[in-house]
């Protein structure tokens, strides 16, 4: 299956511009653009060029090692992998229902993860683009620049992330790559001291999160022509939705069943047990990228691709079970006017609503005495297969394992959040290339438009760039003989 601008008819006659690296996507990603002599765009591709191999080297390892090992996939949202793997392995050890303490500690860990990841993305990585402009002076387009002009905004962004990291530390043992979740439960609960230290901060965190939603919304509403159309790609949506146990139809990051809507908001499927995910989702492989292209099996690769993450979740659920975030969701839905928003820049607004929901949920959990309990694990009849799905900051994350009688993993299949958005990110990049690069001389600012579109999906891109105030971005014009005839680079 090939899409418009995915594959040029005569690439040998075209010039190639490469953005390499765009920045990190769990490793390495690049964008290539093929242009003719008039700089008209003929092909645009977002490639993921690094091969990881986790699914292979997990095989043969003891299952209890997996939640700690697989979280090394990512340094930004390791908790998501830690918990998705744990959920799958809960089934292996027969723990179909965790103790209240275990489930709530895991939820606390996960909502802390959502809070810190969303804060990192919005404040550190994206606010420079949104506050200064996509083609503003590159030397200032970073978190240091934001701290200079908007010191309170930067400070609150840093403190929000710090709080989320602290929630992770007290539940997982470390801020990054902890060990708190184990098959069948957790290995620690909270002490009263740990709980009270978080409670002392949580009301500030909620207030700052509300301000962040307002900021994202005001940015969106200030320039609807840009925010509602930049990189737009209509597609289906998919996310976990709370089941009856969690509140049917409610936004739930930790557990639920699968729901998908079409681009107009109609239900494609609902209340699907994620253990049967492979009956609904298929992945297409393309020779130019190591990242697969998932699609809904019933619709095929041409029409079945979809978006995940905040924009999908906020528009897919029926309600958000915390009051401030629910009020913001209603405002968002009203703004959209009865049909889903598909513009990538709307992810930012939705993401901040989710951050607010995470903060409110953390508050509720901190007031729940179960988080101080000592019934940490449970188990039951041993099983040989388990699927764990969770809503990671970037979208729906699937972990699937089989374990043999000797306790060694024989199968590992992962569909990571970013993979679900692969086609959508490619389409967004093509839309931006057509609109902003077509027929123009390439500049750093125009290249950043490409990155802004990718970054809206938060695919673990650009951590090192904006966060460190540098943009290790380069673009080369290469002629048909492979000679570099023009090179632009910035930062790095």
């Amino acid at each position: 299956m090939s899409y418009h601008l995915e594959t040029a008819e005569h690439p040998e006659t075209l010039r190639r511009v490469a953005i390499d690296p765009v920045s990190r996507v769990e490793g390495h990603g690049k964008v290539t653009i093929l242009l003719d002599e008039q700089n008209r765009v003929h092909q645009v591709r977002l490639h993921i060029v690094e091969f990881r191999g986790f699914e292979r080297f997990i095989r043969g390892r003891p299952y209890w090692e997996v939640p700690v090992m697989v979280q090394r996939l990512c340094g930004i949202c390791p908790v998501s992998h830690h918990l998705a793997a744990s959920k799958a392995l809960d089934l292996i050890v027969g723990a179909r229902r965790l103790t209240p303490t275990a489930e709530k500690i895991r939820r606390l860990m996960h909502y802390g993860q959502m809070l810190q990841s969303h804060a990192l993305h919005f404040f550190h990585l994206c606010s420079p683009d949104l506050l200064f402009g996509f083609d503003s002076e590159v030397g200032r387009r970073n978190i240091v620049g934001v701290a200079g002009k908007y010191p309170e905004t930067a400070r609150k962004g840093v403190l929000l992330r710090k709080f989320g990291q602290e929630v992770i530390r007290v539940t997982a043992g470390k801020r990054v790559h902890g060990t708190g979740s184990v098959p069948g439960g957790v290995n620690k609960s909270l002490s009263i001291g740990e709980r009270d230290a978080l409670l002392a901060e949580i009301y500030h965190v909620i207030a700052w999160s509300r301000e962040a939603v307002r900021m994202a919304r005001e940015l969106h509403e200030a320039d609807p022509a840009l925010y509602n159309s930049f990189g737009i790609c209509r597609s289906h949506f998919m996310s976990l939705i709370g089941t009856d146990e969690q509140g049917h139809g409610a936004l739930d990051f930790y557990h639920g069943s699968l729901r998908a809507r079409d681009d107009a908001g109609g239900l494609l499927f609902d209340q699907v047990d994620y253990a049967g995910y492979d009956r609904y989702i298929e992945e297409e492989v393309k020779p130019w990228s190591y990242m697969k292209f998932p699609y809904f099996r019933s619709l095929g690769p041409a029409n079945g691709w979809y978006k995940v993450g905040p924009l999908a979740r906020v528009q897919n659920c029926d309600r958000i079970p915390t009051p401030f975030a629910e009020a913001e969701r209603r405002e968002f839905i009203d703004y959209a006017g009865g049909t889903p928003l598909h513009a990538p820049l709307a992810y930012h607004w939705a993401r901040m609503i989710e951050m607010l929901h995470a903060a409110e949920t953390i508050k509720d959990l901190l007031h729940d005495p179960d988080i101080l309990g000592d019934a940490l694990t449970t188990q039951g009849a041993r099983q040989s297969e388990g699927v764990g799905v969770i809503e990671a900051p970037r979208g729906t994350l699937f972990h699937h394992y089989r374990v043999d009688d000797d306790d060694l993993v024989t199968l590992c299949n992962l569909i990571v959040s970013t993979t679900n958005n692969n086609q959508a990110m490619n389409e967004a990049v093509r839309h931006v290339a057509r609109r902003y690069l077509h027929g123009r001389e390439i500049t750093e600012g125009l290249l950043n438009h490409i990155e802004v579109a990718i970054r809206a999906f938060d695919p673990c891109l650009s951590c090192a760039t904006h966060a460190l105030g540098r943009m290790p971005l380069s673009a080369e014009l290469v002629d048909a003989d492979g000679q570099v005839i023009h090179r632009l680079s910035s930062g790095g």
Partner: protein, 244 residues
């Protein structure tokens, strides 16, 4: 690296360790006397409950200017022993680095992390990187036993399991086979699998491994970060409290 207070017994025999007097009883090795006196000498194959093996060489000290293993050399009155010196610690760090690259030691996902003597010793010696090229040997796991997993990737050939099984359990389940760089841990059963030996999870050999080779199944990361053996104090402090 020297901790604790030395208290030579009145009228007893003593040697000097890094310039300080260390008392000893007849028959004690240098390392036994040093640890009893609160002085840490790095070691991996030494265990207070077993006879000396002298294979890891980490406890190498200088006695009157000549290098020897502190775990095999009997203490003698008047010895001048050097241990905590930059030269010896550099050599120990190199030995530990070689142990890391000879096996497959991935601390980030190893359940022994925080409880591992190799890792703790590396931290204590200030090892910042493996330095040498990794061998990446292929060492399949033995998960055949219902209660215990063998992960040979982490074996440092200390032979503690060999000695424990033979001397305490009376079974000789484990052995070292091959020589030099080809030396490796084996299971003494017809099939070579642990399940086909008379090994039991209650054996002394099941609990003596200083690294993550012999592990109880399904325990994994049950102990949280902060409560593991070396979270509270480094190995150089724990060992001189009589905990090995």
């Amino acid at each position: 690296m020297t901790t604790g207070t030395f208290q030579p017994a009145e009228g007893g025999q003593a040697f000097t360790l890094d310039g300080r007097a260390v008392p000893f009883a007849a028959g004690q090795t240098i390392i036994q006397a040093a640890l009893a006196a609160g002085a840490y000498i790095p070691h991996l194959c030494h265990h207070p409950e077993f006879k000396p093996h002298g294979s890891c060489k980490l406890c190498t000290v200088k006695v009157n200017g000549r290098q020897t293993a502190a775990c095999t050399m009997q203490a003698q009155a008047g010895m001048d022993v050097e241990s905590d010196t930059p030269e010896l610690n550099d050599e120990r760090r190199a030995l530990v680095q070689m142990l890391f690259v000879e096996g497959n030691h991935f601390c980030p996902s190893c359940e022994k992390s925080g409880d591992c003597r190799l890792q703790a010793t590396a931290y204590d010696l200030g090892m910042m990187s493996p330095h040498y090229d990794h061998f990446y040997p292929s060492r399949p796991l033995d998960a055949s036993h219902p209660d215990v997993l063998l992960d040979f990737n982490r074996c440092i050939l200390c032979s503690l399991c060999v000695r424990a099984s033979r001397e305490v359990d009376g079974k000789s389940v484990f052995g070292l086979s091959g020589r030099g760089i080809g030396a490796h841990l084996i299971v003494n059963s017809r099939s070579g699998r642990l399940a086909d030996s008379d090994f039991s999870a209650a054996d002394k050999a099941a609990s003596v491994c200083p690294v993550g080779v012999i592990l109880p199944k399904r325990r994994g990361f049950a102990v949280p970060i902060g409560e593991r053996t070396y979270d509270a104090a480094p190995i150089s402090e724990r060992d001189v409290r009589g905990v090995s």
